[in-house]
Symmetry: none
Subunit: 198 residues, 4 copies
Amino acid sequence: MSQRVARKRGERVRAILTTAAELLGERGYEGVSLEDVADRLDVTKGSLYYYFASKDELVTAAIETLGTDWTDRLEALPAGGTPTDRLRALLREHIRIAVREYPAALRLFLVPDDWPEDQRARIKALRRRHDAVFRAVVEEGLRSGEFTVVAVDPTLQAMHAAMSQAPVWVRDDRGIDRLADTLMMLVGVVPVRPGSAG
Amino acid sequence: MSQRVARKRGERVRAILTTAAELLGERGYEGVSLEDVADRLDVTKGSLYYYFASKDELVTAAIETLGTDWTDRLEALPAGGTPTDRLRALLREHIRIAVREYPAALRLFLVPDDWPEDQRARIKALRRRHDAVFRAVVEEGLRSGEFTVVAVDPTLQAMHAAMSQAPVWVRDDRGIDRLADTLMMLVGVVPVRPGSAG
Amino acid sequence: MSQRVARKRGERVRAILTTAAELLGERGYEGVSLEDVADRLDVTKGSLYYYFASKDELVTAAIETLGTDWTDRLEALPAGGTPTDRLRALLREHIRIAVREYPAALRLFLVPDDWPEDQRARIKALRRRHDAVFRAVVEEGLRSGEFTVVAVDPTLQAMHAAMSQAPVWVRDDRGIDRLADTLMMLVGVVPVRPGSAG
Amino acid sequence: MSQRVARKRGERVRAILTTAAELLGERGYEGVSLEDVADRLDVTKGSLYYYFASKDELVTAAIETLGTDWTDRLEALPAGGTPTDRLRALLREHIRIAVREYPAALRLFLVPDDWPEDQRARIKALRRRHDAVFRAVVEEGLRSGEFTVVAVDPTLQAMHAAMSQAPVWVRDDRGIDRLADTLMMLVGVVPVRPGSAG
DNA sequence: TATGAATGAGAGTTCATTCAT
DNA sequence: GATGAATGAACTCTCATTCAT
């Protein structure tokens, strides 16, 4: 395969993955048919099989795209400031992306048990990289004494669970901030002027 | 209809609902077909329609069964002790049920938008009742000054999100306790000897 | 079987047939399920099979009831007057019954080809008796010279077809009269003051 | 889509519609399943959904095909002659088509009440166009004084009802002519040598 | 006699997958 | 590379029919 052809193929694949990621992020696995993906790309269903062997393969790759993009954006946040500031920024950005772009994200990362090990592994890796971003800041905060946790793992897991569910109840920017502040408490950071409003 | 027959029918309905709840709790709405439910009950698909008018009806009733049972067990916990003790007990029990019995429960309570209003309402009511159990304790803790929160709603939502996701990563009793303690931090209760183990 | 029991059975059968005839007259064969019939009788589906071997049997018998009742009422019309008056009265009464009570009658008498010969024969006999009522008057009118027809059979058939379809377009009493007058033309009786209004 | 492909698709659609129209014309809506249509085309049920979104859509389109074809043939009849001659020709042709090709046509044009408005409208339009052919001749005959009617609407309706029912009793060409002549009486045209043969 | 329960065939529909062109 | 077409399995739902009690 010539380089030119390979490049072209790469572009095509990327277009498919981006589109699929969008749709999956909006409606989740069972909510998206290959017809939907093809339609939005102005292509026919059959064509997708030229690039991917099955729906699962396509979905896995698309989730990879989506997850990578997501993590990239978190990593691109400014590095300076205290762990507290950086964690809060991370939380806000994460929630913002979840709410605005990938409302169905939660469902996506829960891969069905009967998928091939290969694909499960790829998504696991994705989660790990994503997780590392948060873990680094939390651990730094622990070292500096700013943070207190029962254990790192459940803390991170609780954070992610809450953020993924956010699209269900968070409506506006104020909701995002309140949720971020609430999650800061998981590392022992109590906001300056805590309230008790419903 | 004679009493004896009515009782028998009740039993049958309960058997169906229990079975359906189990399967739904394991695999979620789209993961369960009526064939699956019928198979596990050793009857044919069509028979289910003798008791329920549609899949949605059956599923709604099953979710109701599952949710009511769940909340009942939380409400049955001993009433005494400080809010801190009671919230921790609630969290532990909730996580235990989620992990051991209804690993896919999370997805269940997110009712599809296109369901009949009637059924949406029933499930909403269920969620409200469930929520009230936690809310009462949290508010008591706030009044007594034991708890601190940014706002009650996101706190409860984060708790529930984390607990529902628990089946994915929690494996043993220690995991349950660590998660419960972690979530206690959402109300500002820091454990006596906080650690930092991964 | 004692006489008392036989009588009771007869009553039950009649009740079923009347109800079935009603429903069939309203909605036609495919529009009525045994459940519908049973429901309206406050009985269960299964019970019907104690009296009838199959849906077709029940339907045939019900059509017989309906058809007999219908013909009875036509025969009960006053005998006096000219053939013209009597035919017009017959037409009006027939249309009235079709429109008000058995809007789906047309479909009913068109028995599916694959029904057992026995049942086809019974319905044929019914139609014949019904037909005889009109035929008698038409033939009398022909003998008396009041009527003119191309041939008796197609005349009668056209009359019946039009009357059976009447429920689709006839709305009020005026519609009934206009249709009856129109059909009188089939025997050469032109109304005194013919119009041409749509 | 290339022209060649579009043409091929058109042919396929036409084949489906023709087949469906045939079956529908024979057995009516409820008497035809998609399986039946697919079988006769030597394809599987699912394939039909590649061309039509639902049974109703397919049926509507098929009825449209059938109805258009029918009306086309009536409109193609020679235009000359008196209204009497032309109406008789129309009646004969209409009955011939009904008897030979679409014996169940009657039921087809009675669209179920719960169909989407869109489809009801399409079939209504069809009926209107069909009706117009007869109405034009009848009105011309009225203007020229050849015809006499009670009212135009019931006259046309009675004609159509009788013709649609014709397949039930008309057997041969003589039957067709006798029925046509009989229906001419609805507009006051009495045949030259009226008989009274049964 | 009648009931409640269950069955099984068949309906319409969806969709991942295949394949000749 | 991509398309249009077709497939076949799975799904929800309906209903005439059977049968133990």
